[in-house]
């Protein structure tokens, strides 16, 4: 795949929402932070020291073992424009930090974008595996193999007591951050979410929801991840996260069933209103789009709206964001222009899926 295609193709593997529990778990992400001994961390490194790290990491990625499995392609951050960087951020392939602040940063991507390896982000190496649905173990298996290959060829900064040494003390030890992106509209509607979020904070996990006004999360999407990286083994971290996510998934299912049984008309009304707005609106702000898309997605998952693929929603979550809209338009857009384009894009995609699939 060419660099251009990474920017223009809206599809990453993680959006293909076909994994286990994909009615609730949008994606699973695993990140492994590693550093090289005898190289200053990226925050202090000079440009030439940073380039040296990119060179070393790239060399390993071109080795036979790695090439056979992953076909990684290198994208140097100083060779992509700000809009393209933004698209990579919106696809969750690089962090805002790599896009905006790193000098001599790079990312290695495999063709289906399930593996992205950031170089010179906050740490020298950040291996990221991003899969659709609830697949923590698969993500770990892919990630740890890549880690092993790097380790065979590079001198990792590792210490017997502290484990893998990272730039930030919050990542030291295992260096792993595992997370699942959860769509929890029913727990939000039944107002159980705050109680659950409080409980989660007490077991070494963190939830990030980006909140709009009031208490509703944008698009009802929440990212659940481990907070502790030192003093717990990788399998403890993963099974802890797995167990808690499992509980939340079950609670969301219970809440969905409850809403269907007790407030069916109200629920259907809300879902179809959102669907109607998205089908016909001429301008939609990103915040409203996220909320309406969440309603429609719930409608699809509950079988209230038949005939629309949930994958369309995953795609729209990404393609209606500012970077993608502007990339698609081939120019910078004002917020008003973006709202208009967003509305049109959503209309067209939903209309597409309405037609019976002839083949």
């Amino acid at each position: 795949m060419s660099q251009q295609q990474f920017m223009q193709n809206p599809w990453s593997n993680w959006m293909k929402g076909e994994g286990p529990d994909s009615d609730i778990v949008i994606s699973t992400r695993l990140r492994i932070a590693r550093n090289l001994r005898q190289h200053p961390f990226p925050l202090l490194a000079t440009d030439s020291q940073a380039e040296e790290v990119v060179r070393k990491v790239t060399e390993v990625s071109e080795s036979d073992a790695m090439r056979k499995r992953h076909h990684l392609q290198v994208i140097h951050m100083d060779q992509v424009n700000p809009l393209e960087k933004r698209v990579l951020v919106e696809k969750h392939l690089i962090s805002p930090h790599l896009a905006e602040e790193s000098r001599k940063g790079a990312v290695l991507l495999n063709p289906d974008e399930s593996v992205s390896i950031m170089v010179n982000e906050e740490d020298h190496i950040r291996i990221q595996v991003l899969l659709p649905g609830f697949r923590l173990n698969d993500a770990w298996e892919i990630g740890t193999k890549i880690d092993d290959t790097f380790e065979k060829n590079l001198n990792y900064a590792f210490d017997e007591t502290r484990g893998y040494l990272t730039s930030c003390p919050t990542n030291v030890g295992t260096g792993i951050r595992a997370s699942v992106m959860l769509h929890l509209p029913a727990l939000v509607m039944t107002q159980q979410i705050s109680r659950i979020l409080q409980a989660i904070n007490q077991v070494g996990l963190v939830v990030r929801g980006i909140y709009g006004e009031g208490s509703e999360a944008l698009g009802n999407l929440f990212q659940l991840s481990n907070q502790v990286t030192l003093g717990m083994s990788e399998s403890d971290i993963l099974s802890n996260l797995y167990g808690v996510a499992r509980q939340i998934i079950e609670q969301e299912r219970v809440a969905r069933t409850y809403l269907l049984e007790h407030t069916r008309v109200t629920l259907e009304d809300r879902i179809f209103r959102s669907y109607g707005i998205l089908m016909y609106a001429r301008t939609v702000e990103s915040k409203e789009a996220a909320q309406r898309l969440s309603d429609v997605r719930l409608g699809i998952d509950l079988g209230v709206i038949p005939g629309v693929s949930p994958l369309v929603l995953n795609e729209l979550l990404v393609t209606t964001q500012p970077g993608f809209l502007q990339q698609h338009a081939g120019q910078k857009l004002t917020p008003d222009q973006r709202d208009e384009r967003r509305a049109r894009l959503i209309r067209e995609r939903l209309a597409d899926t309405e037609k019976p699939k002839g083949k």
């Binding site: 951020v89 484990g163 893998y164 963190v206 915040k287």
Partner: protein, 172 residues
């Protein structure tokens, strides 16, 4: 209300971020939101550094003056990072910083992780000896359990594997 970033335009985006029960509110304009990255992916850069330096500065158990002057002269010989710089930025400069700052990091790690000792994965090559030692510990435990439950065949098997590993260690 005006935007907290630029102070010029009216704030149209009101975000509340909750991390660990800590609530932070943001009021910014569309323009600055765009600069910062979109609402789905942005906004994770700001808080953790400030939080960390807060953790480092406040230690009610610390005896104060003496300890902190000792900290002042601490410096990583490899990258030159001082303790003061570290406590301000919450970031290490290189992997040797961990050695130079040493035990002083324990209280910080305890607060962040509730722990100070790594117990996870060990790299094959750079951590080879450690890996063998950990395996030895496990084998010795297994040996004891087998002896205790009178499974002597299995115990003998463990004993052989322990011997082989010990030889391997002596050689390397």
């Amino acid at each position: 209300m005006n935007c907290e970033e630029c102070g010029k335009r009216p704030a149209t985006l009101h975000l509340t971020k909750i991390v660990n029960g800590e609530k932070t509110e943001y009021h910014i304009c569309e323009h600055c939101a765009q600069e910062k990255g979109d609402v789905f992916t942005g906004f994770h850069n700001f808080s953790i550094n400030n939080l960390l330096s807060g953790l480092l500065k406040f230690d009610p158990m610390q005896k104060g003056v003496k300890e902190s002057t000792a900290n002042k002269t601490l410096r990583c010989e490899t990258c030159g990072l001082t303790y003061a710089q570290f406590s301000k930025s919450g970031r290490f400069g290189c992997s040797d910083c961990y050695t130079f700052l040493g035990d002083r990091l324990d209280p910080l790690f305890r607060r962040i992780h509730g722990n100070t000792q790594h117990i996870g994965k060990v790299p094959e090559r750079t951590g080879g000896q450690l890996k063998i030692r950990k395996e030895l510990e496990q084998l010795k435990q297994a040996l004891q359990t087998h002896v205790a439950s009178e499974e002597f065949e299995k115990a003998a098997e463990m004993r052989d594997r322990i011997r082989a590993l010990e030889q391997k260690m002596a050689q390397s």
